[in-house]
């Protein structure tokens, strides 16, 4: 593939980023001294009893039985990072995978570097540093053996947790060298030698999830399973309308219930500012606390919030679409003039609703406020660093006065990048000092008090010349904002493809007001933009008499890098083309087809979608069957993905991409809009916010990996976005109908 050749410039940009990242870690590791710090711990330990485990780097503990305990530093939400990051360390440490034990670390970014589960960043951010940590520890073990044997380190090799002196015909297990190694100088991480890819024996192998054997036994692992001696339980009564405050509480009836310990007013605090008032009922059982909510009387001050509703947004959006945009996001040439001179124009409106995250484990957090004003948290958080800051600010304590234990997490999808449940739990704990308290939301709390994926509306216009080439492009995007800027997750990139490659293009935006807090939902912004852009481009392709893969090839042009809005991130048109070609080949794509007959009244159709997000390039083809005129079933999905030179754990890579694709089906066909009335969300449970069930799953999701010569990137998100337009385009092929609004519904 030609893209291997022209990696130079892109590679330079990428490695510049990696370098920045590396210097950050180097600062926190070598300079700020995670390695030296831990080496000192190890020395102190070395004076203790022999046979005790020895720490080498912040991540590695060599045990007396020559097993190795590796710290997994990032939050595990089901994306497989608790297995993947230790694989990187174990590879370079050169141990056998069956010697490895894995432990979740606490939250401590000074010790471990950035700890976050978001943006599919774990792979690009840790591909180098984790391997360097393993390689540094290995080098220290080799140095210890060299010293003991009086030979040069370069004459020694390692294998399966042993240092080997081939010439001398001897070897020593790491456990016998660890105490000595802990006193060796920590090598320069930037230059410590790393294995070439063809020497990998762990990276690239299918590895089972580290917690799988525990999960199938029901072992307590999740935040909700936290159990501490003397623990209390808390349930919340929240202001239904976001931003409302408590006017008056009458809790006399609640306080009379046996087992109820306290009633604590709380506020989720800083993000967004002042959101949102609630009252916590603390009892000796969550069931009791939850039931006691019926007896609590709260009057809310929420008059200012009542103006916000789904119907109101729809009307404002319709009005705004007809007016000029408030802001320009991108402008090249004169789109209006070019459209006036175009041979053919295509125009269409697209939209999508607010969505909740609906993690299956409801939001929860356990907290203990001790007598000396310290706080301990057991938190299912994707973002412990942000949580620490917000809790510290809300409670007026020092960030260091807090210990954060990270639990396994029953689904993240971006919901747990926010820290409201930590802030609330901490306040409740402060209300019952000295006793641990677990705060748990019920499903209705969870659906009504989310940070929602924002709704959006687009009016597109495209112009084609006599040869069918795309010469003009316009999008007026109606989204949510404040002070002329989009609010969280409501933005659109100024380099949204194809705008930057069309001679005359204009992307504009208008911002509506909402009181709903918004947030990142798996593949944030991309999950919506892929649908509207690839859906509309399929219409443009149709007008040009070609299919979408062909329109994409022509519009992408020669393999080259296009700058993106994000500094240091480029969009490589050659990588895009390669996945488009690969998926067309795998699915035997033969161009735009009309409906094919299925059984009975059923019709079948095929659709295509491409999207670049979170550094991953994915092209997907979907087959659908439409029965009875309205019921849509996805039969099969083919995907081709380029996430760089190496798929680290192929087993988990398959899980992630298949799961993401099915998640895309849910957004396209199953999930219903989150509806707001008088400032409050109305969704009650999975009855009116239905999730996808097993009967909606296609019989196969086939994956083709396109390897390229770029550093590996993440996989939690980029496989999701293209599915949604591919389904819409397949429905068009099957029925002749264009569905331009999510969820896709034939009536």
């Amino acid at each position: 593939m030609s893209i291997v050749k022209d990696r130079e410039a892109a590679g330079a940009a990428l490695s510049r980023r990696s370098l920045n990242r590396r210097s950050f870690l180097a600062a926190s590791l070598a300079g700020g001294a995670v390695l030296t710090f831990d080496a000192r711990i190890a020395l102190a330990q070395a004076t203790g009893a022999a046979g005790e485990p020895v720490l080498l780097t912040a991540f590695i503990r060599i045990n007396a039985d020559n097993s190795v305990t590796i710290g997994a530093k990032n939050p595990e939400i089901g994306q497989g990072v608790k297995t993947m990051l230790p694989m990187l360390i174990a590879e370079e440490l050169d141990v056998a995978w069956n010697q490895v034990r894995i432990e979740q670390t606490d939250a401590d970014d000074k010790r471990y570097g950035l700890q976050v589960a978001g943006g599919s960043t774990a792979t690009p951010n840790n591909w180098l540093p984790m391997r360097q940590a393993g390689a540094a520890a290995r080098a220290m073990l080799v140095a210890a053996a060299a010293k003991q044997w009086g030979v040069a380190p370069a004459s020694l090799s390692t294998e399966a947790g042993k240092v080997i002196d081939k010439a001398g015909g001897r070897s020593m297990p790491y456990a016998a060298l660890a105490r000595e190694a802990a006193g060796m100088p920590v090598p320069d991480l930037a230059t410590v030698p790393l294995k070439p890819a063809d020497a990998f024996h762990i990276i690239g192998q299918p590895m089972q999830g580290v917690d799988t054997p525990k999960i199938v036994k029901g072992t307590p692992l999740f935040g909700i399973d936290t159990h501490l001696p003397g623990m209390l339980h808390a349930a919340l009564v929240k202001c239904p309308a976001f931003g409302g405050t408590i006017a008056r509480i009458d809790d006399a009836a609640v306080r009379g219930i046996p087992g109820v310990v306290a009633v604590v007013p709380v506020n989720s605090g800083l993000v967004p500012p002042g959101q949102q008032d609630a009252v916590a009922i603390v009892a000796d059982s969550w069931w009791k606390a939850s039931k006691a909510r019926e007896k609590l009387v709260v009057a809310w001050d929420d008059a200012a919030q009542k103006q916000f509703s789904t119907a109101g947004y729809a009307k404002q959006a319709a009005d705004a679409l007809g007016a000029a945009p408030q802001a320009d996001l991108f402008k090249a040439g004169d789109a209006d003039k070019a459209l006036a001179g175009a041979t053919k124009t295509v125009t269409a409106d697209y939209s999508y609703p607010f969505l909740a995250h609906a993690t299956l484990e409801p939001q929860n957090c356990t907290a203990l406020w001790t007598a000396d004003g310290k706080l301990e948290l057991w938190a299912p958080t994707q973002n412990p660093g942000a949580g620490r800051k917000e809790v510290a600010a809300m409670l007026g304590i020092a960030p260091e006065a807090m210990t954060i234990h990270m639990t396994r997490i029953g689904g993240g999808f971006g919901r747990r990048l926010m820290s409201d449940y930590m802030v609330l739990a901490a306040q409740v704990a402060k209300g019952v000092p000295g006793r641990p308290v677990k705060l748990l939301w019920d499903r209705t709390d969870d659906l009504r008090h989310d940070y929602y994926r924002p709704a959006g509306w687009h009016r597109f216009t495209a112009g084609l010349d006599a040869k069918g080439a795309l010469i003009a492009f316009k999008d007026h995007f109606i989204t949510f904002g404040a002070d002329g800027k989009p609010i969280r997750a409501a933005e659109m990139s100024s380099t949204e493809f194809p705008a930057p490659v069309v001679p005359d293009a204009h992307l504009g935006a208008t911002y509506l007001k909402t009181n709903l807090p918004t947030g990142w939902l798996r593949a944030p912004t991309s999950n919506a933009m892929a649908f509207v852009y690839q859906g509309f481009l399929d219409e443009v392709a149709e007008a040009a008499g070609i299919d979408l893969p062909e329109l994409m090839r022509r519009t992408l042009g020669e393999p080259r890098e296009l700058p993106t809005e994000r500094k240091g991130l480029v969009f490589h048109t050659g990588r895009a083309r390669s996945v488009i070609d690969a998926v067309c080949k795998a699915a035997n794509w033969t161009g735009r087809t009309g409906p094919a007959k299925g059984a009975g009244d059923a019709v079948k159709g095929r659709g295509f979608g491409f999207y670049f997000s979170h550094r991953g390039y994915f092209a997907e083809v979907v087959d659908v069957t439409v029965s009875g005129g309205t019921s849509v079933k996805v039969d099969k999905i083919w995907m081709a993905g380029d996430i760089g030179s190496q798929v680290i754990n192929p087993l988990n890579a398959e899980h992630q991409s298949q799961g993401a694709a099915i998640d895309g089906i849910a957004q396209a066909l199953v999930w219903q809009p989150v509806v707001q009335e008088a400032g409050a969300v109305t969704a009650d449970n999975f009855g009116d916010f239905p999730l996808l069930r097993i009967d909606a799953v296609p019989r196969d999701v086939a994956i083709t990996w396109v390897k390229s010569d770029f550093p590996p990137t993440g996989l939690g998100e980029p496989a999701l976005p293209p599915v949604i337009p591919a389904i819409a385009n397949a429905i068009r092929a099957a029925t002749g109908k264009r569905l331009r609004s999510l969820p896709l519904q034939l009536t």
Partner: protein, 153 residues
């Protein structure tokens, strides 16, 4: 009130309100947190347990209704021959992602295979449609059930 029941082959007595759901008795009173809370409304299946061999939603089962009955939860499902096959297949295929729904999935799969030892794909869809997996591990759930049943994938 005091209620006697048999949980995972052991006789237990709990003192709880008659309307307290079995789910919360398991989690809070019997220290068996493997059974999960997802919706509290019978809609997600995360709380599925076996009550006298039948899959029930423990969030919808008042403890009074479980009095005198045999309850099996995820913590002991592998003591049943069918449960053991299901659990082994789950491990072999590495079914879980976040893992939160999986206790309920395994309990439902065990009930399904006990009643229908050689299920078709449609039987599996029917038997498992009460269990939501937000991570969408459904393709592997299908495969694992067939594997546990010894029928071709």
């Amino acid at each position: 009130m005091a209620i006697s029941l048999t949980v995972n082959r052991k006789k237990r007595v709990v003192d709880a309100d008659a309307d307290k759901p079995l789910l919360w008795v398991l989690r809070e009173d019997l220290n068996l947190p493997g059974t999960k809370f997802g919706c509290g409304a019978g809609l997600c299946g995360a709380c599925t347990v076996l009550l006298d061999g039948n899959a029930v939603r423990s969030c919808q089962t008042p403890i009074a209704d479980a009095a005198g009955k045999q309850i099996t939860t995820i913590e002991d499902v592998a003591s049943l021959p069918v449960g053991k096959k299901v659990v082994d297949a789950w491990v072999d295929l590495d079914v879980p992602q976040c893992g939160y729904c999986q206790a309920g999935q395994i309990m439902s799969a065990t009930a399904l295979l006990t009643q229908t030892p050689r299920p078709t794909a449609e039987d599996i869809e029917g038997g498992m449609s009460g269990n939501i997996c937000r991570c969408a591990t459904y393709l592997r759930i299908q495969k694992a059930i067939r594997k546990a049943a010894g029928v071709a994938a």
